[in-house]
Amino acid sequence: MTEHIEKPIDHESPEVHEREHHIVSPKIYVMILLVLLVGTAITVWASYVDLGEWHVAPGLNVFWNPVVALAIACTKATFVVLFFMHVKYGTKLTKLTIGAGVFTFLILVGMTMADYFSRAWGRW
């Protein structure tokens, strides 16, 4: 009792053919490799330099070293994701998937940390 095949079909809805196969040239790979190597060098170098701290409030200081280290790590990761993992040429769905993962990860870390930080509230 299925439909007759002459019926019009709607090619828009299923997400087939959506992803165009994009081949990244090795030149880009080499460039990314260089970026990653430089990033590693910078992050090691930066760890030996005291970048100081920022006094947000008494007892709450932000040290710049870990912030810089994480920023470099995020940049490196972004390059790997975008080029080695072809996300720059990927579908919206792939980007959304990564976004969902990062978002949930941030929820886990953020809301747990929020609990730990606010436990001391009202006690200083």
């Binding site: 439909e3 709607d10 809805s13 809301m111 609990d115 730990y116």
Partner: protein, 536 residues
């Protein structure tokens, strides 16, 4: 010729890639585990018949309720609807030949069986008595039972569940038939999709929490150990980050079943289709923001309590939306009262109670008094047994003709539905009162003044047990003696009903084309007229 008769022999089942056969494998295995978990529940209720712990020693009782919890949650509730009915019908509903990754699907079942076997092995070799929540430092340093094997079993079961969820998401995104747009999907697909997101994103956090517990027990690392500076509460953060969404993993697919049955048996499109679809997604998304409401009295910061309590209120709303939409689906319908519909009514009543009592616990003030008592037990069972299990049975009866090609016997199954409903209320309603009175959960013995209500509860459990035995008997009977069902005994609109029963191995003779909305009964009538015309 159908998927059952195509190939014969045990190997053709054990090596199958057919989602329908895997669904049947799952159905058989989860039924087996359900009855083991049910037997353990029976032991619990028997023990609680008297205030003293006279049937079992307290440590035996602790093992029994722990195994009851672990088996029911990880080996029954989590895989129940998705791995059986979802596995069977999602590809059919979206007009696909199979799930996107048939081998992964089979792997998921094998992982489930390995985990289940390990769980049973644990039970046979001394059991485990941490409670299904594995609370540290109890589970890491203070019990001498088989925490490790249980942990591994839960870990593996988690991966089984991840693979099922992953498969569903890919299938729903990539395998839909031509014309099957997102808003033409049956609501069962939507709710399984939402549950799958939770499985994929939540389960790994449980996995890592369990790994850390196992490492702490074996080599003595100190992530959760207060004597080494670790915070035992962190385990609960990680544990509940999965285990709260897990209750939505359990209930969402059940809600999907109800959307299908309520529409079919009132012969009417689900009222507010988009609202119901989006409420599933809303539950999935908000489900991740509320985990710490299990920890209000455990020393999280008061401000966290405030945030998590507020977000809990928000997650309650989509469930209310669903209930009202289902009720209004009946409005101006043409309602019949076959067994699936009776279970559906049971679901709506019991889930409403279960959901509303959840608000008592999400409200931080009343949570202080009610948490960790039988109120929690009752609430949880109203949602999981009254909600999920009713929906599961509704689904099994509803799709039984499609799965087996035969009808179940109507009268006796209606009786079973009624017995289940009555038995359920007798079992679990007294527990709300017990909880309000302050009777703590997980007690092998209790003060004598709680006995009357406990006797009620145990008596109800006997009726409930009977209610669950009946379907096993008559459904098995119907495999051979049931009436031949025909392709579409309920005159339902889903694509799964437009093919033969039991279906072909690749579901449809040719890939169907979806040219109408979901639950379009006018289209169905049109089809019938066409058929009559062509015959005439």
């Amino acid at each position: 010729m159908n998927f059952l008769s195509k190939e014969k022999g045990l190997l053709s089942w054990l090596l199958t890639g057919d989602h329908k056969r895997i669904a049947i494998l799952y159905l058989v295995s989860i039924t087996f585990f359900f009855f083991i978990g049910g037997a353990l529940a029976g032991l619990i209720r028997l023990e609680l018949l008297t205030p003293q712990s006279d049937l079992m020693a307290t440590d035996t009782y602790n093992k029994v309720f722990t195994m009851h919890g672990i088996i029911m949650i990880f080996f029954f509730l989590v895989p129940s609807v998705p791995a059986t009915l979802g596995n069977f019908f999602i590809p059919m509903m979206i007009g696909a030949k199979d799930l996107a990754l048939p081998k992964i699907n089979l792997l998921s079942w094998y992982l489930y069986m390995v985990a289940g076997t390990l769980g049973l092995y644990t039970m046979m070799t001394g059991g485990v008595d941490t409670g299904w929540t594995f609370t540290t430092p109890l589970s890491t340093h203070y019990v001498n039972t088989n925490v490790l094997t249980t942990g591994i079993a839960v870990f593996i079961a988690g991966f089984s569940s991840i693979f099922t969820g992953l498969n569903f998401i890919v299938t729903i995104h990539k395998m839909r038939a031509p014309g099957m747009t997102w808003f033409r999907l049956p609501l069962f697909v939507w709710s399984n999709y939402a549950a799958s997101i939770l499985m994929v994103l939540g389960t790994p956090v449980l996995a890592i929490a369990i790994v850390l517990v196992a490492l702490e027990r074996t080599i003595g690392i100190g992530v959760f150990d207060p004597t080494k500076g670790g915070d035992p509460l962190l385990f609960q953060h990680l544990f509940w980050f999965y285990s709260h969404p897990a209750v939505y993993i359990m209930i969402l697919p059940g809600m999907g079943v109800i959307s299908e049955t309520v529409s079919t048996f009132s012969r009417k499109r689900v009222f507010g289709y988009t609202a119901v679809a989006f409420s599933s997604v809303a539950i999935a998304v908000f489900g991740f923001f509320v985990w710490a409401h299990h920890m209000f009295i455990m020393g999280i910061s008061n401000y966290s309590t405030l945030i998590f309590s507020l977000l809990t209120m928000l997650v309650a709303v989509p469930s209310a939306i669903k209930i009202f939409n289902w009720s209004f689906t009946l409005y101006k319908g043409s309602i019949t009262f076959e067994t699936p519909m009776m279970y559906t009514f049971g679901f709506m009543g019991l889930f409403t109670i279960g959901g509303l009592t959840g608000v008592f616990l999400g409200t931080s003030g009343t949570d202080i008094h009610l948490t960790e008592t039988y109120f929690i037990v009752a609430h949880f069972h109203f949602v999981m047994v009254g909600g999920m299990l009713m929906a599961f049975l509704a689904g099994v009866h509803y799709w039984w003709p499609k799965m087996t090609g035969r009808m179940y016997p109507e009268k006796i199954s209606q009786l079973a539905a009624l017995v289940t409903f009555i038995g359920f209320n007798f079992t679990f309603f007294p527990q709300f009162v017990l909880g309000t009175l302050g009777m703590p959960r997980r007690y092998a013995s209790y003060p004598p003044e709680f006995q009357i209500l406990n006797v009620f509860s145990t008596a109800g459990a006997t009726i409930l047990g009977l209610g669950y035995l009946l379907p096993i008997l008559y459904l098995t009977w119907s495999l051979k003696y049931g009436e031949i069902a025909g392709n579409n005994p309920w005159q339902a609109t889903g694509l799964e009903w437009q093919t033969q029963s039991p279906p072909l191995t690749e579901n449809f003779p040719e890939i169907p084309i979806m040219d109408h909305e979901a639950y379009d009964y006018d289209w169905l009538d049109g089809q019938k007229e066409k058929e009559v015309a062509s015959v005439g």
